[in-house]
Symmetry: C2
DNA sequence: CTGAAAGCGCTTACAG
DNA sequence: CTGAAAGCGCTTACAG
């Protein structure tokens, strides 16, 4: 362990017998430097064990860190269990990566200190975030940091990447209605940050913070105004199964169809149905949302709305690049496509 | 759009009629500041629309960015499709998050520019990385940036989080041998960065860069020295299926058992077997590795080695925190546990 | 092709 | 409790 202080560009320049400016140019080949000078600088760096310019200093000087924040409201585990989020993340990286940006994962749950606000990001993408983060977003905007939101409640100054959640869910509901269903229950994504499961009530909807979940409820209710149902803690098969067991247990109150707000939830509902000895779609029709590629034979059969996750991510990435370049990004909205599977049929 | 330059701490201090030092203290409550002074500063900030100290400047001054790099050799999509990687990531975040650190995703595939070396990270975690990144790791070390490797080939100066890959795979092989198998094939993880599938040959093993995959091959061969097999492009069900179809298609050369290097691969092999009309474990025994919780009925039945992914991530996180605190982190190695499922039986 | 100067925006000893 | 000074390590006009 040497006590020696770490070498800096200045010390390298000194040893090489050139100015710091020249040494800087040599490292960045961002200017005209003679081959021999460059060699001298590189030699000196080698001698001193200098590993190149410090990114922290560089980012202060340049005003750019090359980092894009990705803001998730769930834990990493929950967020990435959903293939949809992965597809979107991949889409973002697909555009921002080649432009030299890396993704910083920012979860609300992480620290007491707001990592979102104290992180040296050049831009941020919000993944379906609730008003809880509004204040922090305001801070980012005040700093001049571009913000893009995927399926957020529209916020002034934030570029929006939208999805036809309401219309898409209405399509599914109409499909069910067309088959003759009238007794339909909802299994929703998280509606607020309470972290608890409950029935879907007017009161709950009134204080819902998840734009996406709420829109999907509204879409279903445009066709089935009285549809009730259960909320979950998020998009997982387990949660779907739990809701399914609660919803389907009593033959008296059992619906003939379930509108699950994600494919993962739908698979869970189908699993619950199987456990209760119910045939899908014979005894129960189930629809999902997303059209994700899950390694699950059941999911492949799902009647669902296929949404373009990767493309949404790309659009977000493109938006970031535009805003970073000082141009005015364009909000875009994506459309989901109905996919008829084998999990819906007329009621008995 | 105002042309006004963004406010700084200095401008806020000036408006508040205090020094920059005092303003700084007011924002960080890191020193004794009178309530009235703090108010003045905060008022001035509000007036100017100042959103708080710039993280870039702060990180230069403090020498800390609060960012931990996570280095993945695959694309995000591939890396996170494997639940094992997610569990590890979650374990890392579990320890580093509360300490105020966020995770920066660094993929080799991303940019031409090395995002790994130019990123303002305080520390880095390598996910099973190959010698390809050795040079970059050397740069990090020269900068005094602590590096922790999960299942890497041991590198001097890097804290290692190990797994008993060799012994664990030997256990599986011995289990198969105990059942009476002698004709066993391997389905491996990526052995090098070639991005192509091939047979497992001596030549290939000689130039393998994936420590984990190689160790697992060796473990199997300690029991079945002549075991051949196929490599894949990574840990997915699809890849397992592709290898399975190739391996099991010809009844003449068909093995009686397959050692897949991950549960995902094993599920794929089983799927291939089903497509070929082979019963598992009647016609074919299959073992996996990881013990991941996949939403797949088949995976739940797998005979496999259960490895502690979350704990490994936590250990890596703990190591980072130790190193960041200037203490000497300890390399640790984890042990996998044999779990007998329903996918192995004596050969016909 | 090279150098001197300024400054990115902040925090931290050090005095008072 | 507050302020003046130094400096974190670099890059970028600007001159020459």
């Amino acid at each position: 362990m040497s006590i020696a202080t770490r070498p800096t560009l200045a010390s390298v320049a000194k040893l090489a017998g050139v100015s710091a400016s020249t040494a800087s140019l040599a490292f960045n080949d961002s200017g005209p430097v003679s081959a021999s000078t460059r060699e001298k600088v590189l030699d000196a760096a080698r001698t001193l064990g200098y590993a190149g310019p410090d990114p922290r200093a560089r980012s202060l000087r340049r005003g750019r860190s090359g980092i894009v924040g990705v803001v998730l409201e769930e834990s990493l585990r929950d967020a990435f269990r959903d293939p949809m989020n992965l597809a979107m993340l991949d889409g973002i990286a697909d555009l921002t990566g080649p432009a030299g940006n890396s993704l910083l994962l920012l979860t609300e749950t992480a620290a007491g200190r707001s990592t979102l606000v104290d992180a040296p990001v050049d831009a941020a993408v919000l993944f379906g975030c609730s008003p809880v983060v509004d204040e922090k977003v305001a801070i980012l905007l005040r700093r001049g940091i571009p913000v893009v939101a995927i399926e957020g409640r529209p916020i002034p100054g934030v570029l929006d990447i939208g999805l036809d959640n309401r219309e898409a869910t209405r399509s599914l509901a109409e499909h069910l209605k067309g088959l003759g269903h009238s007794d339909v229950a909802l299994v929703t994504l998280e509606l607020d940050r309470d972290r608890r499961r409950s029935r879907v009530t007017q009161k709950l909807l009134a204080r819902a913070t998840s734009h996406t979940a709420l829109e999907r409820v509204h879409g279903a209710r445009e066709v089935f105004p009285a549809a009730g149902g259960l909320t979950t803690l998020g998009s997982t098969v387990d949660e779907g199964r739990i809701a399914g067991l609660a919803l389907l247990g009593d033959p008296e109150t059992r619906p003939t169809a379930v509108i699950a707000q994600s494919d993962l939830l739908a698979v869970g509902v189908i699993r619950a149905a199987a456990e209760l000895g119910l045939a899908v779609p014979g005894d129960l029709s189930v629809v999902g949302f997303d059209g994700v590629r899950i390694d699950d034979p059941v999911a492949a059969e799902l009647t669902t709305m296929v949404q373009p996750g990767f493309a949404k991510g790309q659009a977000a990435g493109r938006g970031i690049l535009e805003l970073l370049a000082g141009r005015e990004g364009r909000s875009v909205s994506f459309t989901s496509a109905f996919r008829r599977g084998a999990t819906t049929a007329p009621p008995r």
